[in-house]
Symmetry: C2
């Protein structure tokens, strides 16, 4: 596995692997429409500045995307991209080995 790709995958998982960030992801999960940051604050009991920073981390990893609407920013989950990345990792872990695919259950 390529070092750069490994680092990228690790960063992706690390971004998801923090309680408040994962809570934000779940919160965005529950709502079909975009949510602004203030609204998202309610789901985790931390300062709005903290939420802002967490959303920034999630955006950097392409886990969420945002649009500017007036003075608000509305965030939405990149559902397909995130799900695809997780599934690809699952496939690698389940299927790749020296003998090429069979993991001997």
């Amino acid at each position: 596995m390529d070092v750069k790709q490994t680092q990228k995958t690790a960063d992706f998982l690390k971004a998801l692997g923090e309680f408040n960030r994962l809570s934000l992801v779940y919160e965005l999960c529950r709502c079909e429409s975009s949510q602004n940051a203030m609204c998202l604050c309610d789901c985790c009991s931390v300062d709005s500045s903290v939420v802002s920073r967490h959303l920034k981390v999630l955006a950097e990893r392409d886990i969420v995307a945002f649009d500017k609407v007036g003075r608000e920013r509305t965030y939405r989950l990149n559902r397909n991209e995130v799900a695809t990345q997780l599934r690809e990792l699952a496939d690698v872990i389940e299927n790749s080995n020296c003998n090429g695919g069979n993991h001997g259950v």
Copy 2:
């Protein structure tokens, strides 16, 4: 989403989301048979004590399992369990929302 479950999932992702630990996982991925810790040291250029600690973290999250063989410990990847957890998360992220399943592509 239940707080305890969220924390557990976050811990799982955090365990995977570190470069050297993910490298160990990939290394175990490549090999069908169990590997001892010394062997695994080769895949990441850190002290054996560090590898030992990383493997402990991975074992705590049930990402790897080990057997004692003489004075060695041989580690193997819990392929199915890890893959299943990742896929379940992918499913939640892709499908769950207020309107019950459709995520409006």
